[in-house]
């Protein structure tokens, strides 16, 4: 899951920051702001982004945050990429980038063969070689990349390299003369194509040091390149004149400046007053300004759902949530509108795990217990509680202290109490929250969880409840045979081909109440009036698609 660094929510006078991953536009709302419908805008110019949170590093070999991806994805083009210029589910389509075409799969799904396009160059003019790809992946493991486990866990020889037992990743063989890159996997894993579309796997020159280059970033073959970086303050990109990958957008602006100011209210005011061009979607428009933004910036402000899901999980091996009716009662009693208000309204209510911007999503209307947009079904909930026999059971509810998670925890605990449980909440500091609830010795009864996509594949979300996912992901230790076997079958195929089965699996899990998902975070698409709002794209993967930004 992509990480985002957040300031101390409880202290900041001005607004809270809930920074999450890439986004899509919900299938229902994507119609209105179709991307690519640019009135002819001008090329060139400088565009500024006002952001409250800095990336962890400008170096894609370390960073896997949403803020970082927004930036270095236009610098370091990988072998494959997600389609740009498209808002919504269309933006999850994987297309070839540095590779000539999508990889050929052989050896029962364990071998993927790419061919590097000939004649490509980095922004410094050096030619791109196939062996640079191996170097980049080794660099990811060495630094380590926050998502290094994608490389070490799935590619043969990755673990041995990570443990220092091998000099190179044995599962990858390349031929610089032909440009062939052959990747052998530990086991068949079709989402590996998504991984090769992440900027962290983009090739880098073999002279690039294997350490975090936070002050300079790295060299790539993208539409933009780094001009200057002051870590945690300013990140400046300029057009890369040597960009030579065919079929990918070149971008309009000449210069893009990502300016960090942790005072999110000031950032929002700057965009409101047209002193900055883009309000970074990783931040939340502060409550105090929201009204003003909605009225004054009408026509250049729109919340767009992202590929992230918030949910409450249940410990299914002990009381009270080992009982199906007890779990279902919770789903019937949760008022998703309340949870949305606690998030300042930036929530697309939904009981399903797979977000609307990922193939395999289900319409919110198919929620079994009550309409997510409407009132909960307390009568049904009370009946289910009676059937369960769990009234009066003590429950400890876990949650984080940051806003609005703490408020969600307060609400959830009060719902459990109204159902008849004896619920007490336990607030855990966000830096130790996931290690606390994931500790094998704890066996927690219920609590809050979230997941932000690593890449837009339904498996990325559904794997959280696999029987073998481990307590650090599957906090409730859900272990359902039907679920496990279906999951293992489905992920072998490309998601488009089994979309309805993914949706069915999601609905199955909801009917079994293995999770009480409550919604997907919405990110603000908020521009100054210098920019062509409809041309700008909030991408599934890249958030603000920098190549789509253009001045009017």
């Amino acid at each position: 899951m992509k990480r985002s660094i957040r300031p101390l929510g409880a202290l900041l006078l001005c607004g809270t920051v809930v920074a999450l991953a890439a986004c899509s536009s919900g299938s229902s709302s994507s119609g209105s702001t179709g991307a690519g419908s640019s009135a002819s805008g001008q090329a060139g110019g400088t565009i500024t982004i006002a952001a409250g949170t800095a990336p962890l590093s400008a170096d894609q070999g370390l960073d896997f945050t949403t803020q970082g991806t927004e930036l270095y994805s236009v610098v370091n083009t990988p072998l494959l990429t997600f389609a740009r210029g498209v808002q919504g589910v269309g933006g999850t389509k994987i297309i070839p980038a540095l590779a000539e075409s999508l990889p050929t799969v052989s050896n029962g799904g364990k071998t993927y063969t790419f061919t590097l396009r000939p004649g490509l160059h980095y922004s410094n003019g050096a030619p791109i070689k196939a062996s640079d790809e191996t170097y980049a992946l080794e660099r990811d493991i060495k630094i380590p990349w926050q998502a290094a486990s994608f490389v070490s866990a799935y590619i043969q020889g990755g673990t041995a390299y990570a443990n220092g037992k091998a000099k190179t990743i044995s599962g990858i063989t390349t031929d610089d003369a032909t440009g062939k890159i052959v990747v052998n996997l530990v086991a068949p894993f079709s989402p590996i194509v998504d991984i090769f579309a992440l900027s962290g796997t983009a090739p880098v020159p073999q002279t690039t040091p294997m350490k975090n280059l936070a002050n300079t970033g790295t060299i790539g073959d993208g539409p933009y390149m780094w001009s200057s970086i002051t870590p945690n303050e300013t990140y400046t990109l300029v057009k890369n004149p040597k960009f030579d990958v065919p079929g990918l957008p070149r971008g309009h602006a000449n210069k893009i400046v990502f300016q960090v100011n942790s005072n999110v209210t000031a950032d929002a005011e700057e965009v409101l007053n047209n002193q900055a061009d883009v309000f970074d979607p990783g931040d939340t428009v502060p409550a105090s300004l929201l009204q003003q933004v909605q009225t004054q910036a009408n026509g250049r402000y729109q919340p767009i759902p992202t590929n992230s899901t918030y949910y409450f999980w249940f410990g299914v091996n002990q009381k009270p949530f080992n009982n199906l009716y007890a779990r279902q009662a919770v789903l019937a009693a949760l008022d998703l509108r309340a949870l949305s208000r606690l998030d300042s309204g930036f929530l697309t209510e939904d009981c399903h795990l797979i977000p609307p911007g990922i193939i395999g999503n289900s319409p919110p209307s198919s929620c079994p217990f009550h309409n997510p947009d409407g009132a909960p079904n307390m009568t049904l909930a009370k009946q289910l509680m009676q059937k369960s026999g769990m009234i009066g059971q003590p429950v400890t509810v876990y949650g984080e202290e940051r806003s609005p998670r703490r408020q969600w925890l307060d609400y959830y605990t009060s719902v459990l109490n109204s159902l008849g449980f004896k619920a007490t909440e336990k607030v855990v500091n966000s830096s130790v929250y996931f290690t606390t609830i994931g500790a094998p010795s704890l066996k927690p009864q219920t609590g809050w969880g979230d997941w932000v996509q690593d890449f837009p594949n339904p498996w990325d979300f559904m794997q959280l409840f696999a029987g073998n996912a481990g307590s650090s992901l599957n906090y409730g230790y859900v272990n359902d045979n039907h679920y496990n076997t279906t999951l293992n079958t489905l992920f072998q195929s490309a998601p488009e081909t089994v979309a309805s089965q993914w949706s069915a699996l999601d609905k199955y899990a909801v009917s079994q109440a293995y999770y009480a998902a409550f919604g997907h975070e919405e990110f603000p698409k908020f521009y100054s009036d210098r920019l062509n709002f409809n041309a700008g794209v909030m991408s599934v993967e890249y958030q603000t698609d920098l190549t789509s930004l253009e001045l009017k």
Binding site: L12, C14, A287, L290, R337, R341, A375, Y411, N429
Partner: protein, 345 residues
């Protein structure tokens, strides 16, 4: 803020000498004991008495929190009501707006002072929170008074090894940045609890505040004891064969009693303030419980739209601490009208 007291002289504290009192001391009226005299002076101090009444009213209100909650507001302090509505001047309004902004004061029985983001009644939480803040302050004060006196007595009387350990320990605690120490401890303990005490117990912030302020009392008591132990009456007691503990409790303690009494309101005021600091920074009272500090902190993001959310708990906090301070001044005045601000190194 640190009001230092040295370890060689009497406690140096702020004193507002009542205006009009002669600053050079006069003679004591004969034939009335010093305590009754102090009581009489206190009774004549109208300002202190007024604030004492105010303090008692505040405490009373907070203790009546359950009554208010059941009979007036009809809602508990932790009952969420996010999607509910409330009748304001005939119209039904959202308790919490669709974009999460809580309603301001309705001045009615329900949501008298407004709501918080979870739709909870602020007036109810204000009273319950007051209870919590005052309880923590009281427990901390007890800890400080008992342990601080003990530490001061032992270090001052026995000197030697005891003093060798206690004095630098007090210096360490005293020099440690209070806020960082308090917040670090608070955060750490809130996560794991300590021994059998659970992480969200009120005893944890009380304990932290207690520990942090022990030197505040310990150092001046130690100083006084150092002064006293050389005096004749102590030698006399020793010669009579009294054991050291007996000397401490029957001879020395009564002589530092007035210092101790003067410190009680001061310590209480500081404890309540520090609890607010800790809760404001998230290291004190834990959710969903309220204290004045947490209410102020929760209300800050809404200070533009709903200033009452932060400012009313803030006002309560200030009034309470102010009352305690004024009463404390009055007590100091009563016990020693010649007392002035004096700080020596």
């Amino acid at each position: 803020m640190a009001l230092d007291s040295d370890d060689r002289g009497a406690a140096g504290i702020v004193v507002a000498a009542a205006p009009g009192d002669p600053l050079a001391g006069g003679t004591h009226p004969p034939a009335i004991g010093p305590w009754r005299l102090a009581g009489r002076r206190l009774r004549r101090n109208k300002v202190a008495l007024t604030f004492l009444v105010l303090f008692v009213i505040i405490v009373g209100l907070c203790l009546l929190a359950p009554v208010y909650s059941s009979y007036v507001a009809h809602i508990g302090p932790n009952t969420n009501n996010i999607t509910g509505t409330v009748d304001v001047a005939g119209k039904q309004q959202n308790v919490v707006s669709l974009s999460g902004v809580p309603i301001g004061p309705t001045w009615g029985a329900h949501y008298l002072l407004g709501a918080d983001t979870n739709g909870r009644d602020l007036a109810v939480r204000l009273l319950y929170g007051g209870r919590t803040s005052l309880l923590i302050g009281a427990i901390a004060t007890l800890i400080i008074m008992v342990l601080g006196t003990l530490v001061g007595l032992v270090a001052g009387y026995f000197r030697g090894v005891a003093d060798f350990i206690l004095r630098p320990l007090m210096e360490l605690i005293w020099s440690f940045p209070v806020v960082i120490l308090g917040v670090a401890l608070g955060t750490a303990l809130a996560l794991g609890g300590i021994g059998p005490v659970k992480g969200n117990s009120v005893y944890i912030p009380a304990f932290i505040i207690g520990v942090v302020y022990i030197p505040y009392l310990g150092k001046p008591i130690r100083g006084e004891v150092l002064r006293l132990r050389h005096q004749d009456f102590i030698d006399a007691a020793r010669v009579q064969g009294m054991g050291p503990w007996r000397i401490i409790f029957s001879e020395i303690l009564p002589n530092v009693a007035s210092t101790i009494i003067v410190f009680v309101p001061l310590v209480l005021a500081y404890s309540i303030l520090l609890e607010a600091y800790l809760s404001f920074l998230g290291a004190g009272v834990q959710a969903p419980n309220a204290s004045w500090g947490t209410l102020i902190s929760d209300g800050l993001p809404y200070i533009q739209t709903t200033p009452t959310y932060s400012l009313i708990p803030g006002a309560m906090l200030v009034l309470t601490v102010l009352s305690v301070n004024v009463v404390g001044d009055g007590v100091r005045d009563a016990l020693d009208p010649r007392a002035q601000v004096r700080v020596r190194t």
